[in-house]
Point group: C2
Chain length 188, copies 2
């Protein structure tokens, strides 16, 4: 998604300015909406972090942002509450057979560590688009891999062995809380 | 903060495009940073909700948002985790002697109801700038007032009677978790 210098791209699909995560993101948004409507959980994707530099007021009640920049996020993209527990995760897609670690910023990893420290449930969801498989990997296993490997990516085999495959449904599309139930609420 | 038609305002202080909440917001951000640094809690203000329409790429690695619009937020501004509990709140300043309810959107109230339903801790923080007093009001009392009153604002006396005064410190500036301890963790 890199454009040559000077090219000006207008977005038809307003929110998604990066196609890489589009399908997974929209499926997760639909899933979270399902969870909210059915009073299962309240989990949202955070808005994109931006720095606003210039705002125009073409009319009395209208504000148009005319200059703003994307910022590196300090946290993961998704958080909320499920069964009284704080939920926090990052979601990414990859076309490769391994998950490149440069997809996750260092402070996002530090953030997930803090979430575990405070008693929250943290994880990552990774979609391998080539095989159309979505895995949930708990933050502790994810961090453990990073801290004990010099590799720059996590192979899909690690997800198969240490993660949980999320089955795709019609509604909710990506029922990741079913996996969370299995890991954290088995006795309930 | 309304500008006559056609006026173009450039912001020196990048993030704050609305002065009304500026002091409270920056004090809360500093407080949350203190909580994070001292491993007390992980609570963030969410980025501003915007809809991006146009992005320019003046160089290969730089993206500049050239057209975007503010969106009505679906949730409250702040959330995170404290002592294993999910925390969720909205913060507002007012120059009046009562808190105007049009400061909080209906879906933010619905959101706070859902947070209580799922076992989270929800509240609002309101700063009355004229008397320089900051109150924390739990979501249940806030919602109860709204549902049993036809008034369009909540008088400061209601906050004095049913809310909690947050003392201002040097660091952390607005120690609202002290109040949360008093209400929810008294036995700890």
């Amino acid at each position: 998604m890199r454009y040559p210098s000077g090219i000006n791209k207008t977005y038809k699909n307003n929110i998604h300015y990066d196609n890489r995560g589009m399908n997974l993101e929209s499926d997760l948004n639909a899933t979270n909406e399902y969870y909210r409507i059915h009073d299962i959980a309240v989990i949202y994707k955070k808005p994109t972090s931006i720095t606003i530099v210039k705002v125009d007021y073409p009319s009395r009640y209208e504000a148009v942002i005319k200059e703003a920049y994307f910022r590196t996020p300090s946290t993961t993209d998704y958080n909320g509450i499920y069964k009284k527990k704080y939920i926090d995760f990052e979601a990414k897609e990859t076309k490769l057979n391994s998950f490149p670690l440069n997809n996750i910023h260092n402070h996002q990893i530090e953030h997930l560590k803090k979430i575990i420290f405070h008693g929250g449930i943290g994880f990552i969801i990774v979609k391998f688009t080539k095989v159309n498989k979505i895995f949930l990997l708990t933050a502790d296993k994810f961090i453990n891999y990073i801290e004990n490997n010099s590799k720059k990516s996590i192979p899909i085999t690690f997800f198969e062995q240490h993660g949980y495959l999320i089955k795709l449904n019609y509604n909710p599309r990506i029922d990741y809380l079913k996996v969370i139930d299995e890991i954290y609420f088995k006795g309930d």
